[in-house]
Subunit: 428 residues, 2 copies
């Protein structure tokens, strides 16, 4: 059995350990909720201050050019692309994940209507993050498609000649289960359909190779993702959208739009012409003017992630992520027996994102509240999930040990039964 | 003829003069581009810093509740509503102007399809800001409507029984011409149609009374607007959307959606249910997670605008705005004769926003560049418009005098003909 001493030793030889100093982390807190809101990089506050006072305050409107504000969506997009196996100018930062999913799924449905007009099914996972389902539900209603929801295990059987678009979140927000992306892409393309991925819990957390390791059929078609989780871009940071270059080339050739045809996605926005002509490539997936302060913070977050390249990079992050979640699961299962916690996350690390979730049929919410009161911040997802996220950039092995120790104490003392933890509050 | 001395005297007795101290304005700059990007309020940088370091950095995910992040879209929305003759919980901050217009126009088309199914016309102004036209073009294509564009003068004749939705920008971004909102609403409603207003160049600049002065027929149906112009919310600040409460009540009763049905517009977002049920009222018009740093900056901008309430409020702002634009027009016309500048803005102040635009068929762009090189910042709008915005919160009469003096010198010396001003650069 691993001891606290062992955890200190693991931290001492962790090649990624120096990266923790790139974050401003509060004292007395074990933060296991970077999959909801990533922590503050040390560089961010000063950078945002510079954007506010020097670029906006002093240089005013000129900063769109002189400070490169106009280039931020593509510049940050290219940095994120480098984390996801995508090429330059294939991915752009814009809007929110929900809005980008609307654009991507709508474009996918346009292509499906052209290529496979008889197919009316959008398939997704029943426990996909709800915003994905709500957006798909809206587009299905508008466009005469049917949204078919299934358990993760049932998805492969639904990849058939009725399928127009498969829309999945790569790592499930509740269970942490990770789909096999390339295998899924091959199956979907083999069935003549399209695939849209939501990378909200993947970007910066697990290896992603959007273009696959081999032929086009193993690559994804569309992807969207979130800036404020493992990319540490700040609360509500702008999101991103990626489209395979063969698809944007086709959209160019066939003059296809995405529906949110705002002025910054125009081929020549500063010509102010009354007719819309989409920008080439991924450029058409931007819509209105982006929030620059929030973009600047996102860039700091992405740069902090890219700093890991000098410390073993994505493979090292993945190794540590797996080690952290394995340790957490092993410690909880060894030390919390008899308290009704059931692992919801796959035991096979290859099928797991960077989190561990336990269900507890009764009292999950007050247990998380009691942990938070002790400074161990994870989160609760209705109806019964205790969720713990591991961010290898700043989570230490000792944090995992101490978090489990607190959980043991919360369960053994029964302190979670106190009235103050039983009030259901708004949870985000 | 007004003299420089007269301008100093006007500033000395300006009741709004103390408000200029609420802004961080750069030395040596006369900023007449607040209608493109408003200036930095003095409170903003510190507030954004607080959000980054204390709310995000120290309190992390808890700040969604403890710092009230979750309430920001409605809280700021209510403040903006108070400037526009709208009631509480009728207006919400979200996304960009373009995205909000998509939501609002789409909802308007849904209602039109129910109430007047034979009507297929969306009417707008040919020189409306392009993003509005692009979004309308997209929705018209998708939904089987026809987008009819006309000159401002031709709009009244198009309000007839073929009209489904009239979509206008209240103050035109190029000419500064202001439509008569209440009169237009009455005509549109008399014709059995709906009206959507874009307030990008109105909010914080001119009096707006969305609910009209009398019966419902004089009120607007939908409105969207921009946070980064006269509201001084910062580059790319989030935008807003307002819907008349009789319409949101109907959307509630008939379970109507707006198409961007993201999770924060759900009736119970934290229940994480797979089916979308729109929030009541304006709440359904929010979509994904909003960018908090940019929202915090927007709130500072709106608060700075609200500070004018103690100095005469909106009527005082309007009086000063008119006085500034009248003075500018009079000085340019008196002092720049023979240089080919033609006023594009209505002479009748009642039909004018808070700007003055002059066309110059040849050389408009290098003239603006020469002015900017002298520290007089206005902007150029293709193909031939020199645009000058007046922000009564911080623009002084002496600024107007000095700006015209620079313009006279640029024209008389011919310095704008120098090669360095003839390169067409990206302009925003």
């Amino acid at each position: 059995m691993t001891t606290r001493q062992d955890c200190l030793a693991l931290d001492a030889r962790d090649e990624l350990a120096p990266l923790r100093a790139l974050f401003d982390l509060p004292d007395g807190v074990i933060y296991l909720d970077g999959n909801s809101l990533g922590a503050l990089p040390r560089a961010t506050a000063a950078r945002v201050q510079q954007v506010a006072t020097a670029e906006w305050g002093r240089d005013l409107i000129k900063s769109w050019n002189t400070a490169g504000w106009i280039d931020l969506p593509q510049r940050i997009g290219n940095k994120i692309a480098s984390l996801l196996g995508a090429g330059p100018d294939e991915l752009i930062v814009a809007d929110s994940t929900s809005v980008n999913l609307f654009k991507a799924l709508s474009a996918a449905l346009d292509l499906a209507q052209r290529d496979t007009p008889g197919r009316k099914r959008i398939v997704s996972e029943r426990f996909n993050f709800p915003t994905d389902l709500y957006i798909a539900e809206s587009l299905a209603r508008q466009r005469g498609f049917e949204l078919v929801l299934a358990e993760a295990d049932e998805i492969p059987a639904l990849i058939d000649d009725r399928l127009a678009v498969l829309m999945l979140t790569h790592v499930n927000y509740r269970s942490g289960r990770m789909h096999r992306m390339e295998e899924t892409n091959l199956a979907v393309h083999g069935a003549g359909a399209l695939v849209v991925w939501d990378l909200a819990h993947s970007a910066g957390a697990v290896p992603v190779n959007l273009k696959g390791s081999g032929p086009r059929a193993g690559a994804a078609d569309f992807a969207v993702g979130c800036g404020y989780k493992y990319l540490n871009g700040g609360p509500g940071a702008p999101a991103f959208v990626w489209v395979h270059p063969t698809i944007t080339a086709r959209m160019d050739a066939e003059q296809l739009w995405q529906p949110l045809s705002g002025w910054l996605g125009h081929a020549a926005p500063f010509q102010f012409t009354p007719d819309y002509h989409p920008a080439a490539g991924i450029g058409r997936f931007i819509c209105g003017t982006p929030p620059v302060l929030s973009l600047a913070a996102l860039e700091c977050g992405v740069d902090t992630m890219l700093a890991a390249e000098a410390h073993g990079g994505q493979p090292a992050l993945r190794r540590k992520s797996i080690a952290l979640s394995e340790l957490f699961i092993a410690l909880v299962e060894a030390r919390c027996t008899g308290h009704g916690l059931t692992l919801q996350t796959p035991r096979d690390a290859a099928q797991r994102g960077s989190q561990a979730s336990f269900a507890r049929a009764d009292g999950g919410y007050p247990i998380m509240q009691a942990l938070i009161a002790r400074g161990v911040i994870g989160d609760f997802r209705a109806p019964d999930i205790l969720r713990f996220g591991f961010t290898p950039l700043y989570t230490r092995f000792i944090d995992v040990w101490d978090a489990v120790e607190h959980l043991v104490q919360v369960l053994q003392t029964g302190e979670w039964r106190q009235a103050r933890f039983n009030q259901r509050a708004a949870v985000t």
